[in-house]
Amino acid sequence: MRGQTKWTVWLGAWLCAASVLTAGFCEAQEAGRSPSDARALLLGMGEFLGKTQQLSVTVRAAYDTVQASGQKVEWNEVRTLTLSRPDRLRVESERSNGTRSVVVFDGKEISTFDQSGRVYAQAAQPGGVDETLVYFVRDLGMRLPLAVLFMSRAASELERRVRAVEYVERTGILGAPAHHLIGRTDTVNFQVWISDGEQPLPQRIVLTYPAAPGQPQFRAEFSAWNLAPQPADALFTFTPPAAASKIPFAAALPQYAPGPAGAPAKKGATR
């Protein structure tokens, strides 16, 4: 009788311990995954985007600028991006002040047109979308937020930059199940919400610039993802409107340094 009681106590203790351990393990699975999982999710998103041959998406973005007074101003914009690899890209933008512009790459030239000013700039750019994105942003000095995500090598671009990634939680607060990750590069802290499912697409991204005064943020929400848009060729053809004027890219102008008292600098100075 005494032996049976002892055995029952031991069994009960083991069951309690097992249930506590199991509950803890399940909670850990739910609340926080290992760092390797977080990195795999991030790079999986990059690989999926990079392998997608055609896509269109609407990006509603906002970013902060810190004024001289220290006060932040939030600027808003909406971009619709249509991509057809290897060498077609169109980005239509509308800023919060009503300015509309379009960027078109047709495999030979990249053109950008400002509708309110009725001016456009154009540069020869043979090659694919990847080279063109780098040329447009780095060499022509133009804005194209989150350009990295639309390269075919998005995964390797992210892998090279990202120093740490952590899993925050699984959430459905944005409308569809998503993995919420945080991470950092050398100079940027980021958060990303990636759809949980067959198509690991970004739902939302927040970038924070910690070294900049006021630590401004860039925030973007993605919607209307279409991975089979079948765009017409005309979408990637830029025909300047009749009344539009062609102007150079500012980055392509020779650098000009005015002399003292407004005296012109020597001609032909190049950067």
Binding site: S116, P145, T187, F218, A250, P254, G262
Partner: protein
């Protein structure tokens, strides 16, 4: 007598109150003028900054510092190189070493820029004093775009009545003795201070 004292006290309080109101109004007006005066960017508010790039790299962090350091190092190397060449043959070897070091630093800087191509170099160009007119016009800090938002006015001229001189497909604007060219900047058309047109 007592009523006179009360009257004087009330009048004094009223006078101070009115004076305070006028002073506050003046401050408010000055503040309003500051807020509304174009400051080279739309609406007097700057719309340029590190976050505008939406990039996974930023020049505000180590990149800008590294660039400045590299440029400074390059300058120091050049100065040292000049001193070394004046010291004869032994100095020439030192100058060659300095030159090689400066070249290596420039190479590293180039490699850094290749790797962090999205960090918003164009915004740095836009931030230079050479850019005077934002084509976007008065940009507001509205929280959302709307189909009803009226389009902004076209690019503001660099001065009220510039002399326009078209040369070789480029229109130069002259304001006094200063010349400008319209160009496409990071976020739209801008006026950039330029050299005079050829032949002027």
């Amino acid at each position: 007598m007592r009523s006179r004292s009360w009257f004087a006290a009330c009048a004094t309080v009223l006078a101070f109150t009115l004076l305070g109101t006028v002073t506050n109004d003046a401050r408010a007006q000055r503040g309003g003028a500051r807020g509304g005066r174009p400051g080279g960017q739309g609406g007097g508010f700057s719309s340029e900054g590190p976050a505008a790039s939406g990039a996974f790299s930023s020049r505000s962090g180590s990149a800008a510092a590294q660039g400045a350091q590299t440029r400074a190092s390059g300058g120091r190397a050049s100065a040292q190189e000049s001193r070394a060449s004046a010291q004869g043959t032994a100095g020439q070897n030192q100058a060659a070493r300095q030159e090689a070091r400066a070249g290596a630093q420039a190479g590293r800087q180039q490699a850094y820029e290749d790797e962090h191509w999205d960090e918003g170099k164009g915004l740095a160009i836009a931030a230079t004093g050479a850019v005077v007119g934002r084509a976007a016009g008065a940009m507001t800090s509205a929280t959302a775009t709307s189909a009803a938002t009226p389009p902004p006015p076209p690019a503001a001229a660099p001065c009220s009545n510039p002399t326009l001189v078209p040369v070789g497909g480029v229109t130069y604007s002259q304001c006094g003795s200063t010349w400008y060219t319209q160009a496409y900047g990071a976020s739209g058309p801008v006026y950039v201070q330029s050299a005079p047109p050829p032949g002027s």
